[in-house]
Structures are given as C-alpha cells and as structure tokens.
C-alpha cells in the first residue's frame, strides 16, 4: 500500500482568552496533513507545534472521539460539525476537504452558550432543561418487572430514534434563531412515547419548554437547519410532537384551573 500523499491547509481559528475578553480569528498553517487524520487529530498536531514554539495551544472540547459523548462542538466553515452528514466533529476526516483549502474553525454561537475559551462553550443550559422535567420519576427499587408492561415495538423504535440525541448542541448552533427545540423535543418525544412516561407527560413538556425560553434560546420557526446538522439525524418531526404536547398540556392546565362546572 502506498503512503498517503499529504495535504496542506490554512486554518483560521477563533481565539478568545475568556468570556469577557474579545476574540478574533487567527491564521495558522497546517502543512503535512495526512488525509486519514480525523479533524481533531489535525488540531492535535497544530497544538503540538504551537506548544513546541512556546505558544498557547487552542482549547477545544472533545472526549470519546467516536461520535457518542457529544463533547466535541466545532463550527467548520460555518457548518456545525463540518461537511459530513450524520457525523460529529470527531468523525470528520481530512479527506473530506480539498488540499490547499482555507478552513474557518469557530465555536458554537448562541446567547445561551457563553464562550469559555477559544472553541469551548458552556452548554449547562441544556442540563437545566433536562432538570426541568426531562426524566421519569422512578426511584431506585420501585420498579415492577421489566416485562410487566408490553410496549409496541414501533413505539420503542420511535422513542429510540429520539433518545439517540447526544446533547452536543449542534441544533442550537445551526439554528438561525439559536433555538434548542430539537434537543428539547427529542427528550419530550423519547419519554412521551413510552407508557412509563405518561404520568408526567404534561408537566414535563410544560416545564421543559418554559426552561428553554428562560435560558435565552430563540423560538423555533421550522427552518429545519437543526436536523441537517444533527449528528444523529434526529428529525424535526419530534418538534411537531412537542408542540402538540405543549398545546394539549396548556389546554388541560387551563381546564383544571377553572372552577368546577359540574351540574351537581
């Protein structure tokens, strides 16, 4: 097997010391890039060289490097997670780019995701949306036998499609309104499709949607950019489901708050 030819890129990377200092794009040369390198390995090499030259390496978030932990989060040439459909940043390889190309690398941009440093942002707002209701209250030890409630296969498959969300925030970064609707709706759908999720269904959707607004995410206008950017290809159908659930939940809350109108 022949040795792979190397590629060369010009990188323009967002550098920002901290949330309260201004940032800017800084140009770096990346020579000798092997096309089989992952995008993050290419950045590793850039960082090794910066360190050897006595400069500060670029901070970026990453961990599992196999597309499941949701830590990596780069805007590559304006596209969340870069040019490969259905892949997180860590699953993008340099062969997806053209030799000699200039590549812009930026952090997720959203009011609800303040910058920590360079390419890293604070996504704690997503955890707070889950805290608002993205769970089924089932204290340890209280569960009935796992087969006590049969669940239609289709329902579980649909729930799993939504549950595949890795919480990376690409949907927010891709959305012109910086809405977290795809993220929130994926959890609302996952739990709302299962019988175990029914008792808290109304409360869950109401609280999660309210929290999403409180965090400063924008509203959803169904552009659909989120599903294009989603590394797990979660469909915006889940947003329709969330909106329906939210409507039903607010209606039934209104009904419940009316004074009883019985004939007795």
């Amino acid at each position: 097997m022949a040795l792979s030819p190397t590629m060369r890129f010009t990188l323009r990377i967002w550098r920002q010391k901290s949330a309260d200092t201004p940032g800017k794009l800084v140009q770096y040369d990346a020579p000798d890039v092997n096309p089989d390198m992952s995008f993050l390995e290419m950045l590793d090499v850039v960082n090794e060289r910066l360190t050897e030259r006595g400069e500060e390496p670029v901070a970026f978030a990453h961990d599992c490097r196999e597309g499941i932990c949701g830590t990596c989060s780069l805007m590559i040439n304006g596209v969340a997670h870069g040019p490969v459909r259905g892949a997180a940043t860590c699953q993008v390889h340099m062969r997806s780019f053209t030799d000699g190309q200039t590549i812009d690398i930026e952090p997720w941009r959203a009011q609800a995701f303040p910058i920590i440093k360079d390419l890293m942002v604070d996504r704690a707002a997503l955890d707070r949306i889950i805290q608002a209701g993205g769970f089924i209250s089932a204290p340890t030890g209280s569960a009935p036998d796992a087969n006590a409630i049969p669940i239609p296969k289709q329902d579980v498959d649909d729930a799993m499609d939504a549950a595949a969300c890795i919480g990376c925030g690409a949907c927010v970064a891709a959305c012109p309104n910086a809405s977290a609707s795809l993220f929130t709706a994926a959890k609302v759908s996952h739990l709302g499709l299962l019988p175990q999720g029914q008792p808290e269904r109304n409360r869950r959707v109401t609280r999660m949607v309210e929290q999403m607004d409180l965090e400063g995410f924008g509203g959803c206008t169904l552009f659909g950019e989120c599903q294009e950017a989603c590394p797990k290809l979660i469909s915006i159908d889940v947003i329709a489901r969330m909106n329906r659930d939210y409507f039903k939940a607010t209606m039934s809350a209104r009904e419940e708050s009316k004074p009883s109108a019985g004939s007795g």
Partner: protein, 637 residues
Amino acid sequence: MELRSRIPSGPIESKWDTHRFEMKLVNPANKRKFTVIVVGTGLAGGSAAATLSELGYNVLCFSFHDSPRRAHSIAAQGGINAAKNYQNDGDSVYRLFYDTVKGGDFRSREANVYRLAQISVNIIDQCVAQGVPFAREYGGLLANRSFGGAQVSRTFYARGQTGQQLLLGAYQALEKEIARGGVKMVTHTEMLDVVLVDGKARGIITRDLRTGAVEAYAADAVVLATGGYGNAFYLSTNAKNSNATAIWRAHKRGAAFANPCFTQIHPTCIPVSGDYQSKLTLMSESLRNDGRVWVPKKAGDKRPPGEIPEAERDYYLERKYPSFGNLSPRDISSRAAKEVCDEGRGVGETGRGVYLDFADAIRRLGEDKIRERYGNLFEMYERITNENPYRVPMRIYPAVHYTMGGLWVDYNLMSTVPGLHVLGEANFSDHGANRLGASALMQGLADGYFIIPYTIGDYLANAKLEKVSTDRPEFVAAKAGIESMTKRLLGINGKRTVDAFHRELGALLWEDCGMARNAAGLQRALARIPEIREEFWQNVNVPGSDRELNQALEKAGRVADFLEFAELMCTDALHRDESCGGHFREEHQTPDGEALRDDERFAYVAAWEYCGVGNAPRLVKEPLLFENVPLSQRSYK
C-alpha cells in the same frame, strides 16, 4: 495494611440477603445529616449519586466533563447481561454467576460475583421504569441476544448504543435529584486528592477546570467511580480524557491497588493509521461470526489483498485452532494477531494489522444479507478508513479497552481507607482476570443502584464521625500540595510536550506489558519507566497558567500519574508468574498456546500498598476460595 474482605458467612445464595439484614440502617431523619461525595458520573457514579440522594443523603457530585451525561460508559455498544431467563433457555442467577467466575479465569471473588448475578435482574427493571428504550419483539416484550460466547441469550440492548441509553437513564435520575436539591452537581472539576482525617476519608481536593481554582470539600464519606486506567497505554478505546488520577492519588493516600496487571485487549479494533493517531475505535466482535482472518504467508508481501492468491494466504486462526477458528476467544485471537505481525506479515501501511475478510460470506450469503447483519459496522469502518469492506477486506488489530484491576474493595465496596468507597471499573471486584462481554454495564449499575446505597449506610451508622471543616490542617496541607505540584509542572518549561511523553510510555507498555508479557520485557520496562518519569519532570513543556482553563496542565497531571502507575502495573505483571485471562505470560502456556494458570501459587488477589515513588510497593494477598465453581482449566475445544 490488613485486608478484611468482610464476605458474609453462609451459603452463597443467601449471603447478600443475610448481610442486608445484618447491616445497620440510618434512619430517614438522620440521612439528611450526612454528606457523601461522589466522584465521577458514569454508570456507577451517576446511579450512585441519584440513588443516595433519593434515600435522603446530601450528595456532592463531581465530574470533569461539562455535563454528567458524557462519561465513557456512553460508548459501550453491545449490551447488558441479566439473568432474567425471559428466553426460557436455561439461564439462571447461578448460571450467570458460574459463567462470570469461569470467564474471569478464577481470579475473582465468588461472593461478589454471585451478588452481581442476583442484582442483574433488578437493574433491567429499574432501567425500563426510567424509560430506557431496550429493543423489543413485536409482541411488546423485551428482546435478548447472545453475546460473548454465552450459551444463553441474556443480553439486553438498545441498538448499538446500550451504554448511552443506560447512562442517560442514570443521568436523568441524577438531574431529577439536582433539581430537587438533594445533589449539588459540580461539573468541569477534577478531583486531585483525597483528604483523610483520623485515618478516614473525609473529603477531596479539586481543581475547577475553567478558573483553575483549587478547592477543598468535606464530607462524611467519599465514593470514587472514576473508571479504569486503560489510557496508561496512550492508545486505547477509552475516551481521551479518561484517566487514573483519582484512583492513583487515593492509592497514594493508602488505598490498596489490586491486580493492576489485569487489562483486557479486544481483538477487533480499527488499526493505528499513523503517528498522529489519538485513540482507537472498537468494532463489534460479532463480525468474526462471518469474517475470516488472514495475513499473507510471506513476510513483507505488500501486494493488495485481491492480488494475493488463495494459496499464498495464511488463515492462521483456522490453521492453529481448527475447532474454534475465527471464533477463538478474545485473548487467543489478540495474541495470534500480534504474533503474525511480529513475524513481519502484518498488513496496512504500518504493518500492524490483519485482514478480516467477508468475501466468502458475501459469496455464500449475498451482499444484502451481510448488509443486514453488519451494515452499521461496515459504514463506521468505511467512515474511518475510507475503504469499502464489501470490496476489500477489513483491517483489524487488537487494542486495550478495559481494565479489570483497580482499587481493592471489600464486600461493601470500601477500600482499605475507611470511608473511601470505589465503584465500577475503578474497583477490582467482579471480573477476575478477564471480563465477559456485556458485564461492565451490569457491574457499574449494580454497584451504584443496588450495593452502595445499602453498604454506605452501614458505614455511616457505625463510623461515629465528628463534623469536619475544610479549615482543618489536613485539608489545608493537601490543598497546598496540589498547588505546589501545579506550580512545579508549569515551571519546568522543558522541550517536550505532555503527549510526547504519554506516547512514549504507551508504546513501552504496549510492547512489554500488553497482549503477551515475559520476565525480560517486564524488567526492561521497569528499568525504563523511571527514566521516562525522570525526564518528564526535567523536560516537559506545560504552557499557560494555573488561573485559567489549561488543557495541557490537565493532561500533565494525568500523565505524571500514569508514569508512576505504570511501574506498579509492570511490577504486578512480573510478580504474577502464571498466565490467567488477559494476563498472558509467555513462559506459562499450554502446548496449544492457552493461558496456563498456577492455582497453587497464584489463586489470590494481589493488593499493593504504596510505599513512595520509586520504592517497591508492598504486596498483601487476599486468598481466593472457590467453594461453588470448581477450579478448572478454561477450554475452547
């Protein structure tokens, strides 16, 4: 140091029940007076923190991730075992227990393994109640698959993302408790030391990874659930940030480290493609059901696979192990791959790879059938390698992916430091010298949901703890120690990067303490590791400051610990002059190349006591008794 395993007396079936009755309880009104620190938010830590909070304890929970949903449990693909016997195919708690003891090559504790098998059924119930979308049949009941060579179908799964779904279940339970106020969650914060007061674990020292602030936290007990040490090898299937710092620093404070040489090497991973390689990716072992493993007969044969005629190929697994062939066990297959590559017959640019060829299976079954069985794996392979495995054979090579060793714990999951409990991959307890597939998730959740909530109550009810504050000299001194280590790392201003040292250490361990070990290689490694460590402290280059987010500094601390830990791993591997499970000493093998145990001399847990950097650690043995599963040679005939 004395090892008291606290295994309850009585028949194995009733040990846990008896123990649960005998343990002291903390009454509900008193639970809120106790604070428990949980470090780590994978399956074990997340489930423990949520459950302890549900019981009424105050929980302080720490994660170095930005969210408690990201720990590496999330990457587990295959599934989770449970002795539900939903398939009516002969499974039982006893059979799962038996398989796990035998699979661990008789180097685990029977009582712990039996309890694990018992609890396995509750885990599935719990996860379903939380909304984990396990695969189901058309009738709406749970589906199972067989896994890792078991003769029954006992593995529950959620597509290829079982670890993710189980972790999200625990994460959601944890977020529920955070919202309720029972858990105070501290993210993006790394534990750097355990603090002992009057000989008991009473707190930790941390570094806030965003601001660099070093802080002290006090509590009544500490729980570590910080994962394994596979990244000592630099290249492994672990996540990049997985590290041994928490357990290593606890070891330095007095917690014995058990069986550090037990590491599991998975045979089917995507090979290293170049020096820049940062981690390895596992491909499900199920591929070996239809793929045939081969290399060229001639060393240095660089022809593309399609141009190598049948007669010039060596299907070495089929040749050497005719009865099991391509389905030979993990350890055997891994070692055989290393052997042919050592002979210069490896394939791919680096020569460290073997072919896994589906051409025969495609001819026999058709491409559609293969796509149906392995489509997602083939896609993942193609994405990484840019090669189409329907046309050219896959290239695979073994990689480190799990560590069975860890901090020594008693039956209550408490280490040799009173009050310091250890869960999940971070402890040594259940897998012996080799872990079976789909058992890691089971153990993490058993420890977190169903064991520690009972045993920590017993500790707290008995311990007679006075309140301590972080003003105490023990905390102040530990904090100062961490701050001075940080200053030292930043002040070296050497020439080599942290990663350069880590890569060098990893290559050394892989060569001399990897798939196959021998006395000469281990002695060589033991001579070399202190030299690398010495150079690290003279010549490492850690840029930036300690008052900000500094990823190089984070890595430097972890690599400094790996450089100490590696010596213990090799010491243990050298002392264990037998082969068992994943620990293969070339000097001890059967004529067929299988691991040859020496039960007379080594049927014990090797627990090591720390005696200072560079000083020989002290070995304390916990003898292992096999009263239920008779000691026998594992056989794959």
